[in-house]
């Protein structure tokens, strides 16, 4: 059983909270402490964004975070070092790297997977590497029991949902809306229906993200899902943070109500 599977099992039906944060934002030396704050405030799994120059599926907030991180010299190598550092003090929170394929291709699949496994990464979500194009990467990931997480979108056909569910590991990431990360027009009723349907095809946990911004929207889409991902709204809170103390407060203020609301379900 993989580390991510174990985590979901240990939750025993409790909804998982998965915050997303871009590595190196707002400042490189704040990332590791912030990962710990996230865990202290209820994160079950952390999605760590690998900064990329051309994040075509992301909205303006995550684009900016990515740009700022790159400007400060944070690339894939530094991101992996951060995970490694986080692992020195935390061995129980799965870390999923999220990003785009080009930096990974540039490093080389084998080297990337070896380094990621060595650093303590548990899963990888690459927005522009669908299952059809991921065979080679998957063969490397499997050697180290790293999971490749795939997205399912509102536009994904039934046949393709089945196919993706067969290929996926860790959990399925259901994209709650037609749009980029952080967009506004979430329809919880449809999301819940879709997730219910998706469960026919897989026993994997289902996380829902894109457009979830606070306790109310988290609860609204969590009725059927096993986990909720929050990214842009969290990063928005961190925009003004100059040091880890202000980040600690911002994270606590933002995460607590969401954690409480999910636990009340």
């Amino acid at each position: 059983m993989s580390f991510i599977d174990q985590k979901f099992n240990s939750l025993a039906g409790k909804k998982a909270l998965i915050p997303f944060m871009t590595a190196g934002f707002p400042k490189p030396d704040m990332t590791v402490p912030m990962m710990h704050y996230l865990v202290e405030n209820g994160a079950d799994i952390i999605e760590l964004g690998m900064p990329f120059s051309d994040p075509m599926a992301d909205g303006p907030v995550i684009q900016k975070a990515s740009e700022k991180a790159i400007q400060q010299g944070v690339n894939l190598v530094q991101t992996l070092q951060m995970v490694s550092q986080f692992r020195q003090d935390n061995q129980h929170t799965p870390v999923v790297l999220m990003g785009y394929l080009n930096p990974v291709e540039s490093m080389g699949y084998e080297k990337f997977v070896n380094s990621a496994a060595g650093a303590g990464v548990n899963g990888v979500l690459l927005v522009d590497s669908p299952p059809e194009e991921s065979a080679e990467l998957q063969s490397h990931l499997k050697k180290h029991q790293l999971e490749q997480i795939f997205l399912v979108a509102p536009t994904t056909s039934e046949a393709r949902k089945k196919f993706i569910c067969q290929q996926a590991g860790g959990f399925i990431y259901y994209v709650a809306l037609k749009g980029v990360t952080g967009a506004a027009d979430l329809n919880p009723e449809i999301v819940n229906q879709e997730i219910k349907q998706l469960k026919q095809y897989t026993a994997l946990p289902i996380a829902v993200g894109f457009g979830v911004k606070d306790a109310a929207s988290a609860v609204a889409v969590a009725a059927q899902a096993d986990a909720v991902v929050i990214g842009s709204a969290l990063i928005q809170q961190l925009l003004g943070c100059q040091d880890k103390h202000s980040a600690k407060k911002a994270i606590s203020d933002f995460m607590r109500p969401i954690r409480l609301a999910l636990d009340s379900l």
Binding site: P51, F52, S53, D54, P55, M56, A57, D58, G59, P60, Q63, E67, I70, N75, L76, V77, Y100, L101, N102, P103, V104, E105, S106, M107, V127, D128, S129, P130, E132, E133, F150, L151, V152, A153, P154, T155, T156, S157, R160, I164, V175, K178, G179, V180, A183
Partner: protein, 401 residues
């Protein structure tokens, strides 16, 4: 067994290891839809007839194959012929593709058109066909490009398009493409994305190539009539590579016809300030396909430089990447100053002012001609006219217009 080239891409959109479908999940369904619609219409007689009629009556095709006798005499080598895509409606080859894609959009019942543009040529070509079909049109353009291509921005507005300024990243063509993709993800149901070059996820590289293949098809016919045989060499500039693919593809199985793609060498490959993805980039994934990409050691896409905004793109069409690796076509570079010299040379010698993009092809074609004999023939694709670049040239030369 000799290698076949004209049966690509394969079913999954790959040209060897290049191309493919590296798109966000939300777009998969509409890419599948587009692929199915295109497959059907590609062999549909009515659709093809309409396309041919539009090319003839709206674009003004066929474009002439012109014997540049004074340039030929100057170089004292091979006979130089120019394929006059600059004489098309809107002044470049870009209109071939937009005329084709808008028919597809209509057939698929889409109400809204989006496009990305760098220099503005593709944006103008898209706004033009959208106006003609009465469809809403939004063009994404980098803030930096908007600044340096003010006339094309105004042309698009006159044609009824909304030009949206892209403030992210390097604020140029690649970022405009990202932003158009983001728009598409949010409006997949009613929107058709007209990509302007032979890049993007499948089926775009194939489709844009096919719509531009009219260039090479005409050259086949015209060269038989005017020369009595096929040319010995073809030369075209390559940014994303749509005009080059359009010229090359119909000749791809005629191994005796050599092909040269000319990338933008900018200030010289050694300076790092260029846009020569094949010559100086590495294999990567950008904008939905695997190809040669200009990126740094960490896989971040780097900013490019070229005197011509239309070549200022950090990737290249995946089929070009494949033709390069198989050796079927050769990819060379021409620097800014060489392109500028060719711009003046053609203008003064033949009375034809080329776009700075096309001037790269002219510059290399002139060099190549010198190494060949007068019995040999070169066709250079004059992909666009130079009116749009007059301000750039004047600026460089310190002339205020």
């Amino acid at each position: 067994m000799t290698q076949k080239f004209d049966n690509l891409p394969d079913e999954t959109g790959h040209f060897g290891r290049f191309g493919g479908n590296f798109a966000a999940e939300t777009l998969f369904h509409c890419l599948e839809e587009l692929k199915a619609a295109y497959k059907k219409l590609k062999t549909d007689a009515d659709f093809q007839q309409q396309f041919q009629r539009d090319l003839a009556e709206f674009v003004g095709r066929p474009s002439p194959l012109y014997h540049a006798e004074r340039l030929t005499k100057q170089q004292q080598g091979a006979q130089i012929w120019l394929k006059r895509e600059d004489l098309n409606h809107t002044g470049a080859h870009k209109i071939n593709n937009t005329v084709g894609q808008i028919l597809l959009a209509k057939a698929m019942g889409k109400k809204r058109i989006i496009a990305e543009t760098g220099a503005g040529q593709h944006g103008v070509a898209t706004a033009t066909v959208a106006a003609r079909m009465g469809l809403d049109c939004v063009v994404y353009m980098g803030a930096v490009d908007i600044e340096r291509q003010a006339i094309n921005v105004y042309r698009m507005k006159l044609l009824g398009a909304e030009v949206r300024s892209v403030q992210s990243g390097s604020q140029t063509l690649k970022d405009a493409l990202n932003e158009a993709m983001r728009d598409w993800v949010a409006h997949v149901d009613d929107t058709f994305y007209i990509i302007g070059t032979v890049a993007g996820p499948a089926p775009y590289p194939e489709m844009v190539r096919d719509f531009n293949s009219v260039i090479g098809q005409e050259v086949r016919k015209q060269s038989l009539e005017q020369i009595g045989r096929f040319p010995d060499a073809l030369v075209a500039c390559v940014g994303g590579g749509s005009n080059a693919m359009g010229l090359f593809h119909p000749f791809i199985e005629d191994q005796k016809v050599r092909m040269y793609g000319v990338e933008a060498g900018g200030k010289g490959l050694e300076t790092g300030q260029h846009a020569a993805s094949i010559n100086a980039g590495k294999v990567g994934v950008l904008h939905g396909n695997r190809t040669y990409v200009m990126s740094d050691d960490s896989g971040q896409v780097t900013e490019t430089h070229s005197i011509s905004a239309g070549l200022d793109y950090p990737g290249v069409g995946p089929e070009h990447a494949y033709l390069n690796d198989t050796g079927r076509a050769r990819y060379v570079t021409i620097n800014d100053d060489e392109a500028l010299a060719a711009f003046h040379n053609l203008t003064r010698k033949e009375g034809i002012m080329p776009a700075l993009e096309s001037a790269h092809a002219i510059a290399y074609g002139l060099k190549l001609a010198k190494t060949m004999s007068p019995e040999q023939h070169i066709v250079i694709n004059l992909s666009g006219r130079g009116d749009k670049d007059v301000h750039t040239v004047a600026n460089i030369e310190g002339v205020s217009v």
